[in-house]
């Protein structure tokens, strides 16, 4: 008798992993877009941190131009980190995460879709506004392609690694500061290669090598981070 039910399920057209990826991406984007105030928070944060550098160090253009690659990358990194905590938290609080873990579909599909949605509204958005803010730090025009390309390839890795921290701390009431502690040391290689790419672009050196290194980090992140995120989510929900 029970087999009849199962059979009914298998005869129906089912939504495959690809459909699930698109559905999850759409859902997460929709959720973020309906909460507009939180949507722009990383960008405002990015702008504010950048404002602190001239105020805290020196408004002298030559000096700021030298500082700009590092400052922009550090600010982008912190802005990504800031938005990381909410990645799985609402799903954890309202029980969607349990349903997600009980899906027979591969978990990494959903995880990748969620991280991609997060990146589109943090990393990608930061990449797009970065040139405008870079002008405020007197970054030479030659540095702009390097800045945008390095952010474009580097920030997805930040989202992937940050998601591991978010998944590990999602069961805790206050995960915010802890995430930074767990994730910041892991961000260092991306910071180093990203900043170097911008510096190379400013001085007119070829960018390819740096971007390739950032790309390699991204490939590694895409391959391994979803595994760690999935395991961390199962552990957090189980606990």
């Amino acid at each position: 008798m029970a087999d009849l039910i199962t059979q009914a399920a298998s005869e129906r057209a089912q939504i495959g992993p690809g459909g699930l990826f698109v559905a999850t991406l759409r859902r997460d984007l929709m959720l973020s877009l309906r909460r507009k105030s939180e949507l722009v928070n990383p960008l405002i944060f990015f702008l504010m941190v950048i404002t602190l550098f001239p105020l805290g160090v020196s408004p002298e253009p030559g000096f700021l131009a030298q500082l700009a690659p590092g400052a922009l990358w550090v600010a982008a990194l912190l802005a990504t980190l800031l938005s990381m905590d909410s990645l799985f938290r609402t799903d954890f609080d309202d029980g969607s995460l349990e349903q997600l873990l009980l899906s027979p579909q591969p978990l990494f599909i959903v995880v990748l879709a969620k991280v991609l949605a997060h990146w589109m509204l943090s990393g990608l958005a930061l990449t797009l506004v970065a040139p405008v803010i870079a002008v405020m730090l007197f970054l030479p025009a030659e540095g702009m392609p390097g800045l945008m390309l390095s952010l474009l390839i580097g920030t997805p890795t930040l989202s992937l690694v940050g998601a591991i921290g978010a998944a590990l701390t999602v069961g805790l009431k206050r995960g915010g500061v802890l995430i930074s502690l767990l994730v910041l040391p892991l961000y260092i290689p991306v910071l180093i290669f990203g900043t170097s790419a911008v510096q190379a672009a400013v001085t007119g050196l070829p960018l390819g090598g740096y971007l390739a290194l950032l790309g390699a980090l991204l490939a590694l992140g895409l391959a391994l981070a979803p595994l760690a995120i999935g395991a961390a989510l199962r552990i957090s929900v189980s606990g």
């Binding site: 590990l168 701390t169 805790l172 040391p185 260092i188 290689p189 552990i235 957090s236």
Partner: protein, 251 residues
């Protein structure tokens, strides 16, 4: 357990906290004696008999503390991650306890490496801190330890904490080579190579043999502290088990 067929028997014996507690108790005196002998012998040798460096004079002698603690800090992270993975995969409690016991030891060793590096830096570079590649990597390793310890203490349920920490330690283990490489590369980009605390191209035997003795001594000392912490942790977690009650009553 479904996958018990191919695992050797001692592996499962090790999984028993009681057996592990007893074997650690038996090994402890031996390791203590070895650690004391090696560390005292090595220190005397290093401070008195090893020749002074022709460039750095006597200040180089701090490598006899710095290098072993740096090596141990790294090995300890690896042990922590591997133990965590074993705990994660085979649900072995003792492995979780080993991983938990490793973190504070590793963090202290990293601090020792950083302090000795700073002390060495003062006469050599003229400042307490230099963004040297090795010191920077060690600092980041220390941060990784701090993250592991913070996560472990933030999660109340012990088994959840152990599992989450194991995942983090494994992620860190994958990242350590990348961090090391990127920091070294960053370092060569920003400052020309000056004195390196280690990496002597040709260190004479009278210099490196005591260093080797010290490294082995540190390993023995590490084993002693690890076993002592492990025994404590076993007693704490198994406090309601019959054998622990018997053990405490018999004393």
């Amino acid at each position: 357990m479904a996958d018990s067929k191919w695992m050797p028997r001692w592996f499962y014996q090790l999984a028993s906290p009681r057996w592990c507690y007893q074997i650690c108790g038996k090994l402890l005196p031996w390791f203590t004696v070895a650690a004391l002998a090696l560390l005292i012998g090595g220190t005397l040798w290093a401070l008195i008999f090893a020749p002074a460096d022709y460039q750095q004079g006597n200040s180089f002698r701090i490598i006899y503390l710095h290098v072993p603690s740096a090596i141990l800090a790294q090995s300890c992270y690896m042990l922590m991650a591997v133990a965590g993975a074993i705990g994660l995969i085979w649900k072995m409690k003792v492995a979780d306890m080993v991983a938990k016991a490793c973190a504070p030891i590793g963090a202290s060793l990293a601090v020792l490496a950083l302090l000795t590096g700073a002390i060495w830096g003062k006469p050599t570079w003229g400042s307490w801190w230099v963004w040297d590649a090795r010191l920077t990597s060690m600092l980041i390793l220390f941060f990784l330890y701090l993250g592991v310890m913070a996560l472990n203490s933030a999660i109340e349920s012990e088994s959840t904490a152990a599992q989450a920490t194991a995942v983090l330690a494994l992620v860190g283990l994958v990242n350590i080579p990348i961090i090391k490489y990127s920091v070294e590369w960053w370092n060569t980009l920003h400052q020309p190579a000056t004195f390196k605390l280690t990496e002597k191209p040709a260190m004479p035997a009278e210099m490196w043999v005591p260093l080797l003795v010290m490294v082995i001594g540190f390993y023995a000392f590490f084993a002693v502290t690890l076993m002592m912490r492990l025994r404590n942790e076993i007693l704490r977690r198994e406090r309601r088990a019959g054998w622990v009650k018997e053990l405490l009553l018999s004393k």
